[in-house]
């Protein structure tokens, strides 16, 4: 897709999220800006505590934002918004959670878990609801009769499918997948990744994919943003990021990916990121587009170095 054809679906500008009050205030997200285009898979990668999940949750209005703008399809959706818009957001944006063991209500049947969101939409008859549940379950590769079972009767992979069905039933346009495969076995991971890719093709969904594992990201994401301590440090097309990682933190993440190849693994040098390698005391870092579509955080001195690396 050429860049002028891309349509921005979600625009995040200088997003800030803080927790706690006054003395104990903690800024988890310190001003993050990015665009997500319609139909793409945008990856957000970082270590635990970097604020990647917080961004996802702020977009979907679980956490209030402390500053900045979240604009979805031309409308601002953070801060105080009208009731109608809130309902629209709830329907169009959905989330898939990390741990399928913890994110399903143990005491509710699958039927209720999957269709809970529909109860808020007036004018849906019980008959229609049941049909929708059966369809959503079929879409994720589960049998319709599973609707009358409880979550504990399912394996991890099946539970994650229930979590996906629950998001799909609202017919969303935008799905935030928060580490949807981290808690799963490798063989099940492949199934869930394939399912997500298939659904995206069929329904032209847009994904925000949050993970700490770059190896999965490369496989599924079109563009990747790397986040560290609440700040984006690098953003680029997946292949570009893997071919020319510039920021030391990105390089550290890449070097940590385990390769299924004993000989390469043994030769590998693990890069460890030490934030003190930046000297930002005088020269403040800026978020710069260093080559088309490739953004990086760095001060003037570092940017010159990065440009030279790109040329080499």
């Amino acid at each position: 897709m050429a860049s002028n054809e891309k349509q921005v679906l979600l625009h995040v500008e200088d997003l800030k999220v803080t927790f706690g009050k006054k003395k104990h205030e903690f800024t988890a997200v310190k001003g993050v800006s990015f665009d997500i285009y319609k139909g793409e898979t945008f990856g957000l990668v970082g270590e635990s505590g970097s604020g990647k999940t917080t961004i996802g949750r702020a977009i979907i209005r679980i956490h209030p934002t402390a500053g900045g703008k979240v604009i979805y399809d031309g409308k601002q959706i953070n801060g105080s918004i009208s009731k109608e818009l809130d309902k629209e957001v709830t329907r169009k944006l959905q989330m898939i959670f990390q741990d399928p063991m913890a994110s399903l209500n143990e005491r509710a049947k699958v039927d209720y878990i999957v269709s809970e969101g529909l109860y808020n939409i007036p004018g849906i008859t019980p008959q229609q609801r049941r049909e929708k549940v059966a369809k959503a379950l079929a879409d994720v590769g589960l049998l319709p009769e599973f609707a009358s079972r409880f979550p504990h009767e399912f394996s991890g992979g099946q539970r994650q499918r229930i979590g996906i069905a629950r998001a799909l039933i609202m017919e969303p346009e935008f799905i935030i997948a928060d580490e949807p495969i981290s808690a799963l076995d490798v063989s099940i991971r492949a199934q869930v990744l394939n399912l997500l890719a298939k659904l995206q093709k069929e329904r032209n969904l847009t994904y925000l994919f949050i993970s700490h594992d770059l190896s999965v990201m490369r496989f599924i994401c079109d563009r990747i943003a790397v986040i560290h301590k609440g700040l984006l440090v690098e953003m680029a097309d997946s292949e570009q990021l893997f071919a020319h990682p510039l920021h030391p933190y990105t390089r550290a993440l890449l070097s940590a990916i385990p390769q299924p190849d004993p000989l390469k693994e043994r030769k590998k040098v693990l890069e460890v990121y030490d934030p003190s390698c930046h000297d930002y005391s005088v020269d403040k870092p800026v978020w710069t587009e260093i080559e088309p579509g490739h953004f990086i955080l760095g001060n003037q001195k570092e940017l010159t170095e990065y440009r030279e690396k790109l040329k080499a």
Binding site: S238, S255, A256, P260, D261, P262, V272
Partner: protein, 366 residues
């Protein structure tokens, strides 16, 4: 040949569950050599954890060993319980399959064989300081008391790369991050001074960057303390770095075992192929990732033939009828698949495996 430290022979473990019998470990034989890192890989439910729980006497109370022996060469015989010990051409051994009493296990658990569990969040006592927990293991197993124990604990904390050990010594588990907690758990295990260290998915709950650090830490400690490591995981991707040998488990049986290069570059069993090709690292973007269809077999029922056959699209007729024996590929590599029989048709491994093979095999000089 290397010196054997542990030899599992025809081990069979069953669980009685609501009046039914589940056959979790089906006649497994496995040798562990001194100083090696053996990785056991398989899906959840394949019995890899159950197998290892047998080694330190933590089998759930409804499970029992109904056949086989676990010979551990390295324990001093106990005159009071001569029937627990035996002797063969390799020397005296303790038969862990016969251990029943908690008192007997105390001689093995910790000081001989030690285990690191998956989740560092739940394996530490939240009410005691980190230092006290490490020192406790030291005083129990090395007989050091007071200041001496503290010194030893601090030394071990330095060994597992916990910065500023003096300050960290007095802190509680909740003040540590996940990766740091896993280091503490490793420190406690090392403090017992074991000969065999079992790591049960020690990095699953950790970030990729921390995972890489913990793996290299385990490798380092193995050299320093001359440990034998048994490493359990479901992710073949992580083991290339640390493994000497890899055993692939499926439905309570070891279906392929070999040196790490053999498993990655010349895998023979279709299940090993499937595990390797489902790794996202090897996936091609825009194409479906290979995924294993179906579910593992129900172990309540007796498994007939090759347990993986129902999920293997290229299964042969005999796979459903008769259990394949181990075919020897090289002195260190054997696999339980009829494909290696001389009468079998030629089935090519999937493309990803072949490309891995040509890259690695060439570098390997094969």
């Amino acid at each position: 040949m290397q010196e054997k430290i542990l030899s599992i022979e025809n081990l069979s473990v069953r669980f009685s569950l609501r009046g039914r019998i589940l056959h979790a470990i089906r006649q497994v034989s496995l040798d562990v050599y001194k100083g090696e890192t053996l990785v056991i890989v398989g899906e959840s439910g394949c019995g890899k954890s159950v197998l290892n729980k047998n080694l330190i006497g933590l089998l759930d109370s409804n499970g029992f060993i109904d056949n086989g022996s676990i010979k551990y060469y390295g324990a001093k015989p106990d005159a009071k319980n001569p029937d627990l010990y035996g002797e063969d051409e390799k020397g005296t051994y303790a038969d862990l399959a016969k251990f029943k009493k908690e008192k007997d296990w105390l001689k093995i658990r910790g000081q001989e064989i030690c285990m690191i569990l998956q989740d560092p969040m739940t394996s530490l006592n939240p009410l005691k300081t980190i230092g006290a927990q490490i020192a406790e293991a030291i005083s129990l197993h090395q007989g050091k008391k007071g200041k001496e124990a503290k010194e030893a604990a601090l030394q071990i904390m330095r060994d597992v790369r916990i910065d500023d050990p003096e300050r960290r010594y007095k802190q509680y588990p909740h003040e540590f991050s996940g990766g740091m907690r896993q280091r503490v758990v490793i420190a406690i295990a090392i403090a017992c001074n074991p000969k065999i260290l079992i790591c049960d998915e020690p990095t699953t709950a950790l970030d990729v960057t921390i995972q890489a650090q913990v793996l290299s830490l385990i490798r380092e400690l193995k050299e320093k303390y001359k440990l034998t490591v048994i490493f359990i995981t479901h992710d073949l991707g992580v083991v290339a770095n640390i493994a000497d040998r890899v055993a692939v488990m499926y439905a309570g049986d070891i279906i392929e075992i070999g040196m790490v290069e053999e498993i990655f570059y010349q895998p023979k069993h279709p299940y090993t192929w499937a595990l390797l090709s489902s790794l996202p690292q090897l996936g091609v973007k825009g194409e479906d990732l290979f995924s294993i269809k179906g579910t593992p077999p129900n172990l309540f029922a007796e498994v007939k033939g090759d347990a993986f056959a129902p999920r293997n699209p290229q299964a042969l007729k005999i796979d459903f009828e008769e259990l394949p024996p181990y075919f020897t590929v090289s002195p260190t590599h054997k696999a339980r698949t009829w494909l290696l029989d001389e009468r079998a048709p030629k089935v090519e491994p999937p493309e990803v495996i072949r490309s891995l093979n040509s890259e690695g095999g060439a570098a390997n000089g094969k």
